[in-house]
Symmetry: C2
Subunit: 226 residues, 2 copies
DNA sequence: TGTGGTATACTGGTATACCAAAAGCATGAG
DNA sequence: CTCATGCTTTTGGTATACCAGTATACCACA
């Protein structure tokens, strides 16, 4: 096999175990590392030009984020998301993010609201023909901004964790223009509710939005053969 | 300094990094390791009779669980929960566990329900004069059983994670008999709703229960001076 | 006596060497 | 030809040695 990573990785940036985790995380989220693919410590270490130690620590950290599964005495592998997991994960997202939106409407300061607006602008300015991953990242940024605006550190952490797991799927979505447009309008409506300081409305609109995404995701995820 | 741990630790059980994590976790939850207390790798390793490697891995894992905070290039320390964090954590518990109870009412199989009943029996049979930690553990077991019964792996993981953080506080609660009795009755009512397969009722009763606990916790946590 | 700089000791970060267990393969017996 | 068994290779787990950053204490100098 030719190697784990895409070729544009600068080895100089690899210094710490966090850097290693960042790279592996990116490769998982981008889909370059596929579900169930074994991550062998020595191979990763050699390719990244570091020793096994920071690689192991990175894998431990990624396990905590739910992206990697550590099979004791065997190997680490990219966590596989089964179709059954998908509904459970989206159900949890619904609960977490609706709560986040509600809290954001109550507590978000002006900086946090500005940050949300920024992610919306970035999403709007995406070219029509951009990749699935770019779309997924822009969407991700919006939802991360909402949970950050909730003012709850723990909610932000947990929410991003669950969101990150879904991201492993989304780079393989087929994004249709109609769906993209709908999602964007829902995002705008959620932000409006937050700016109006209307928690109930923010809650309801976020719930509806995630429900839409859920229905769409269940139909549109491309399950690749390995 | 005399050492991190209580004296009844069997060094033989310390074999793997998971074992190390178990011990440190237990000591944090029991309150023997206090918030903000630095955890120095060499000291931990020496006391547990292992090398620094499994200790570091344990600390990484515990960071993922939210029990330990890793300050790069300085040290690891027991995560401090501020009074402000408490409301945020309990608010999140409310959302997560109400969802878990609702799901449990829908999907729990008979084995899972039996497990919940078992935790209730254990709670009932606690002696009147038992320690705060024993009470906290029994309560913890009930809530863990609920999230396990939800049938959602991710919900169980996330829920236990948040629950675990609260556990660092609860060993320092003052448990009053009236409160204990009330909580037990609420637990019974939640189980009843689950057995009736009434998701809305389970949701409502769990919400009410966590709300009660929240109000109680905010008044009763003993903030110790360091 | 107070202040600042330097030296030293301590701590986490990384690399490497060694160990034990698991998996794959080859070989030989049925 | 097939299957079982044992050996070899591969892999994760642990211990140890070394490196780099940080804090602190002590000493020189103002």
């Amino acid at each position: 096999m030719s190697g784990y990573f895409s070729d544009n990785i600068n080895p100089v940036t690899v210094r710490t175990s966090e850097g290693v985790a960042d790279i592996i995380r990116r490769e998982i989220l981008s889909g370059n590392l596929k579900p169930d693919q074994p991550l062998l410590e020595r191979n990763l270490a050699q390719e990244l030009g570091v020793s096994r130690t920071p690689v192991r620590e990175a894998l431990f950290a990624l396990q905590g984020e739910g992206l990697v599964e550590l099979v004791p005495r065997k190997y680490a592998r990219v966590r596989k998301i089964t179709p059954k997991d998908i509904s459970q994960i989206y159900a949890l997202r619904l609960v977490l993010e609706a709560h986040a939106a509600e809290s954001a409407a109550r507590y978000a300061d002006s900086a946090a609201i500005l940050e949300i607006e920024t992610t919306l602008l970035r999403q709007k300015s995406l070219p029509k023909n951009c990749s699935a991953m770019e779309q997924a990242n822009a969407d991700l940024a919006f939802h991360a901004a909402i949970s950050a605006a909730s003012g709850s550190q723990i909610l932000k952490t947990v929410s991003n964790q669950v969101l990150g797991i879904t991201a492993t799927l989304r780079s393989r979505f087929k994004y249709e223009p109609a769906q993209t447009k709908l999602a964007f309008n829902q995002h705008k409506a959620i932000l409006a509710a937050i700016k109006e300081r209307n928690p109930e409305l923010a809650f309801a609109r976020m719930s509806e939005h995630i429900q839409t995404s859920t229905d769409y995701a269940k139909g549109k995820v491309v399950i690749e053969e390995s």
